[in-house]
């Protein structure tokens, strides 16, 4: 049995049989040997089995050999303790030891294996400490009170305390971080059953503190600060860029004005620059959005490429999931940018100036119209289950109903705005208060644009809930590709050869 045990584990076994009276010294000795041999272990996940074999008198072992201690070191690289051995409380071992002490007669009849599995880190000095203190109770001379051991530590009578002590002393410092990483990267994989996966998951979960540690919080804050600094740098850059553009436009217009005056085309008076698209005021919100959108388009092109490659290469569902999630997040980023732009200049969004001309043709309250998009793209998601077809159809209908409601609300808004401006110019009406009312209506417009964007975002989200990962990936690819073609069409159209005038 012992040989089998040894060979199965590439062990170094210290066997020593001594008379019972010297057992305590022996244990200290073997622990010291441990300490010496430990630095030669290959990894920090050395598992050590401390086996105390308490045997009964046996002709094979020889008369004096009542107690055999074997310790083995195995440099196995198991990363989890996949088997939990039954560990008996030390005081019970003590009871048996006392039984041996008092009762010289052989054959107490019990042959028990007490095993303690522990992971040692390289702090070998801990091992010769009082950590296995209770074992010192074997000391023959012990006339100590039963709740104190030889080096003065309290006698551990409770398993919970014992295991806490051992965990505190023997578990390596990186254990929790490693477990956290393992938990994050744990996958069922192709060959494991759900039960195995679930039990590994639960085991890791019990070893990991999932709330944010101080270090993690600080890291996160640093990262957030970096992001904020980056954002403000981008905004500043956009602002400066718009200043430059505005300046050159200004000189251009002054030149035109000069020319026009010379030709007698202008009688004087205020030059209405608004129709030239130059409002005369620098709007940093718009500039920020334009830069952000340009970056967004570049990112989007990259996303589309990745999706296309992934779908053609038939990658795993996990990888597709990652791509789908990042694709969705990318759209959420766009909606966030649009919300900021709406606060800065709602007319900019409503005019669709940020989109390519062909896209602008389909503009609906500052963006795409969800039900139309669903109609166009759903055929590309085949095959859909019966339930999915029904769900998509319902989503389309609901979206359309909400779109109609929004659109009628917009019409009402236009009507009231027109009415508030079309009052009798010769009448006694209060210009100021009428303007104030009109301003209020324009605030309402911001609400409508925001609600339309919410509708777009919620529709996308709902679709991602109805579809499988693969279908969602195809959907995102179809959507991205669709808009990409519009942009390409716009460029082609702008570059087309025209009749000379």
């Amino acid at each position: 049995w012992v040989l089998e045990f040894a060979f199965s584990r590439f062990t170094i076994i210290c066997f020593s049989t001594i008379s019972y009276g010297d057992s305590s010294l022996f244990i200290v000795f073997t622990i010291m040997v441990y300490g010496i041999l430990l630095p030669f272990s290959s990894t920090n996940s050395v598992s050590i089995s401390l086996c105390l074999v308490v045997g009964h008198e046996d002709q094979r072992l020889g008369g004096a050999e009542r107690l055999t201690t074997s310790m083995n070191m195995s440099a196995s690289s198991t990363q989890f303790m996949t088997s939990r051995r039954i560990v008996l409380p030390i005081h019970q071992v003590n009871m048996w030891a006392n039984a041996f002490k008092d009762d010289n007669s052989p054959n107490t009849g019990t042959s028990t294996i007490l095993e303690v599995d522990a992971k040692f880190d390289n702090k070998s000095e801990d091992t010769s400490h009082g950590s296995l203190g209770p074992l010192n109770n074997y000391d023959q001379e012990a006339t100590k009170p039963p709740n104190k051991v030889s080096d003065g530590h309290d006698y551990i009578a409770d398993w919970e305390v014992m295991s806490g002590e051992m965990m505190a002393r023997f578990i390596p410092s990186t254990y929790e971080d490693e477990s956290f990483v393992k938990l994050k990267t744990l996958r069922q994989g192709q060959s494991r059953s759900v039960d195995d996966y679930a039990s590994d998951f639960c085991m890791l979960l019990s070893r990991v503190v999932l709330s944010e540690s101080v270090a993690q919080r600080d890291l996160r804050r640093l990262a957030q600060n970096r992001e904020a600094a980056k954002k403000s740098r981008l905004r500043k850059k956009a602002y400066v860029q718009q200043l430059e553009t505005s300046r050159s436009k200004l000189t251009q217009i002054e030149q035109e004005l000069q020319r026009a005056r010379q030709q007698g085309l202008l009688v004087g008076g205020a030059l209405d620059t608004s129709h030239l698209g130059f409002s005369g005021t620098v709007n940093s919100g718009v500039a920020t959005f334009e830069m952000g959108y340009s970056n967004w388009i570049d990112e989007q092109d990259r996303h589309i490429r990745e999706l296309r490659t992934a779908l053609q290469a038939h990658v795993s569902e996990d990888e597709l999931r990652i791509l789908v999630d990042s694709g969705m997040r990318h759209y959420y980023d766009l909606f966030r940018m649009k919300a900021d732009a709406a606060k800065a200049d709602v007319f900019y969004l409503m005019s669709g100036m940020w989109k390519s001309p062909a896209e602008r043709f389909f503009l609906w309250i500052g963006g795409f119209r969800p039900s139309e998009l669903l109609k166009v793209l759903t055929p590309q998601l085949d095959p859909l289950s019966e339930q999915q077809i029904g769900a998509v159809y319902n989503l389309q209908v609901s979206s359309q109903q909400f779109e109609d409601a929004l659109y009628q609300g917009m019409a009402k808004l236009q009507q009231t705005l027109a009415e508030s401006l079309a009052t009798d110019p010769l009448g006694a009406g209060n210009y100021r208060s009428q303007m104030a009312t009109a301003m209020g209506k324009l605030e309402d417009l911001v609400t409508f644009v925001n609600q339309a964007d919410q509708l777009r975002q919620q529709t996308l989200k709902q679709m991602s809930r109805i579809l499988t990962t693969r279908q969602a990936a195809r959907g995102l690819l179809a959507l991205g590709d669709y808009f990409q073609r519009f942009r390409a069409l716009s460029s082609l159209w702008a570059a087309r050869p025209r009749e000379p005038t």
Binding site: A391, F402, G409, T416, Q451, L455
Partner: protein, 101 residues
């Protein structure tokens, strides 16, 4: 608050609006399209309007109007109604209150 809750229980579908609010108008249109006839209370036409507006804000809306109650229970503003509808849960909620046509 009691005024709000009392009015909210008077009918199956109750909406608090302001006559100047166009989003409220949009929500009204939506409910009509779905086949219900909501009871509309315009806060700016109501003497207790200011108090009711404050009470509605306390219910958790960022904007007091439109505020939708179905079956006496507070549903929310435009966003909540929209999410419910896109998720398919609005129609079942409205079923008992559909106008018999």
């Amino acid at each position: 608050m009691e005024a709000v809750m009392r009015l909210a229980r008077e009918r199956g579908v109750v909406i608090f609006t302001k006559s100047s609010c166009c989003m409220c108008y949009a929500v009204k249109i939506l409910f009509h399209d779905l086949g219900v006839n909501p009871m509309v209370h315009e806060l700016d036409q109501n003497p207790e309007g200011r108090e009711m507006e404050k009470a509605l804000m306390r219910l958790g809306c960022t904007t007091p109007v439109p505020a939708v109650f179905i079956g006496g229970l507070f549903v929310g503003s435009t966003n909540e109604v929209m999410s419910l509808h896109l998720g398919g849960s609005l129609n079942p909620l409205l079923k008992p209150y559909r106008a018999l046509s």
